[in-house]
């Protein structure tokens, strides 16, 4: 549904996006993850035909974003990072205006507006002036605006930015309910956001794609720095000495004292082995108390930091 090939975008001498390529299948939700200023918004702006690329091509629904821009725009719903609202209009007339510029025939306009108002639960504010609506409602009006012409492709730039947890959940539910019929790209710099709503994640940093996979696979791929968390009651020095000597253990650190001689340890192990039984037996042999022993997989958050900071070191 969306094909991006060797996309590069420069602003003067500054390269915002460098040779980015990816594809999104029909009905898929793709998460675009990256720190601020990584090139997410720029990529989205190229896809929505707001700006042309410096080099490379982007095709949406089979149409080129540069040469067949109007065809693309008819099929894309876009929620920019700054929700594009006319603050002096009321919600319903605003959506009616959007319906008109999105080329919805006048007969179907009223129905289309009512449909998105229901979909994004805007009934209670439909006659309110947009500027008087709360942030949460404004975001939903923005979402309604993107959905009004029932587009095949939805591009959402930080759709939950600045919302409270309850509103985030609501918006997330709306987005999830749209999957299947719509192909969705959403960007975020907040990770749980992406891991909860997206089937596939592309991590972008400094204009380059540094990783792209399902949240689960990304997780598995980066098991390299797996670690074990243990709570052991016993003399700290001896425990550390013993654990450090064990084969397969890279590093041991105490994280915190839990009182009464009980300490929390972080044990970094070499990838591919489960060292929990061996740790357990050595602790028991020394007749210390083993209170807890778990492996800690890297969360998406850590993977993200890992990838994006590595990239910085290279540069």
């Amino acid at each position: 549904m969306i094909e991006v090939k060797d996309l590069t975008k420069k602003y003067g001498n500054f390269t915002a996006v460098r040779d980015v390529s990816f594809e999104v299948e029909k009905g898929e939700i793709l998460g675009f993850l990256g720190p601020n200023a990584a090139g997410k918004t720029t990529t989205m702006r190229v896809l929505t035909c707001f700006m042309p690329a410096t080099a490379g091509t982007a095709r949406v629904a089979g149409f080129d974003t540069f040469s067949q821009s109007l065809d693309v725009r008819r099929r894309v719903g876009y929620l920019p990072e700054n929700v594009p609202l006319y603050l002096d209009m009321r919600v319903r007339p605003y959506l009616d205006f959007i319906a008109r510029i999105k080329d919805i025939p006048s007969r179907e306009r009223k129905k289309a507006v009512s449909r998105v108002i229901e979909l994004t639960a805007l009934e209670e504010v439909e006659n309110r002036i947009v500027g008087h609506c709360s942030k949460g409602f404004r975001q939903r009006v923005g979402l309604a605006q993107a959905l009004i012409h029932d587009p095949e492709v939805l591009i959402l730039d930080e759709p939950t930015n600045g919302l409270d947890p309850k509103q985030i959940n609501e918006v997330r539910e709306v987005i999830k309910s749209l999957a299947g019929d719509h192909t969705i790209i959403l960007s975020s710099h907040i990770l749980p956001e992406v891991s909860k709503t997206c089937e596939r994640v592309v991590i972008i940093d400094q204009g380059r794609i540094v990783a792209g996979d399902t949240p689960a696979n990304l997780d598995a791929r980066l098991r390299g720095s797996q670690s074990i968390s243990a709570q052991i009651r016993g003399p700290v020095k001896e425990v550390m000495g013993l654990l450090k000597k064990k084969e397969g253990i890279v590093d041991v650190k105490t994280r915190s004292s839990l009182g009464d001689g009980l300490w929390q340890y972080d044990i970094d192990v070499e990838p591919g082995q489960d060292l929990r039984p061996s740790v357990a037996s050595s602790v028991v042999e020394n007749s210390w108390d083993l209170v807890e022993l778990t492996t800690v997989g890297m969360s998406l958050e850590e993977i993200f930091l890992e990838l994006t900071t590595q990239e910085e070191e290279v540069a």
């Binding site: 975008k9 602003y11 702006r45 929505t48 035909c49 700006m51 006319y86 080329d103």
Partner: protein
Amino acid sequence: MQGLLAIWSRELRAYFISPIFYALSTVFIFIVSFMFFTQLQYYTQYFMQAAQYPTMMERININEMIMRPLFNTMSFVAVLTLMPMLTMRVFSEEKKSGTIELLLTSPVRDWHVILGKFLAAFTLYTAMIGLTMIYPLVLQVYGDPDWGPIWAGYLGLLLLGGGVITIGLFASSLTENQIVAAVICFGAALILWMLDVAAESMTGTLGEVVGYLSVLRHYNTFEKGVVDSTDCLFFLSFIFLGLFITVRSVESTRWRG
């Protein structure tokens, strides 16, 4: 086409919601009324004197003595000083609030967006000018003005206003700061006005060229009551050029991001 109309009607609505239009048209009507009143005063005085001298009586002309100065004031007040304030927000506001992103990613062609905005400002300008029709109507009730030159004057005023609106649109598309847009538009319009003076001090081909570019010179023909196709063509190409560079400027915003 639907997009163009949608943009036109939304723009008009925005003008009527904001206080700018009301302030501008009030000031405009106030100044023009003041001018009308002074001219009428002058006319009646002249008429009283002329009543004693038949030769003076022959020179009396209601069009020349009231309507022409009025058109002069209107062109200066409405077009030169008020138009920049009317058009300054057109693109600047959209750029600042981010709604430009909405317009430029909708299935509406760039020139439809610009034409829609132009027509909205032009509609408003026409309405503002239309309000002043009350003065020739007053003259009609108490006197016998010649309507030909009056219509010609209004046509000239519309064409001139249209031209300056396109300058305003262009200026507004350059910046997200409304004040800067207004200043650029005012400055550009003022220079076009001053070309008339400049042309007088120049000789030869240069003087002719500059004189032809002088907006005032072309407008004055209308004021006199003459509709010349040269002048009409001048203003129409002026408007076209203004719209064209605005389209280009908006397109370049896309490239620059």
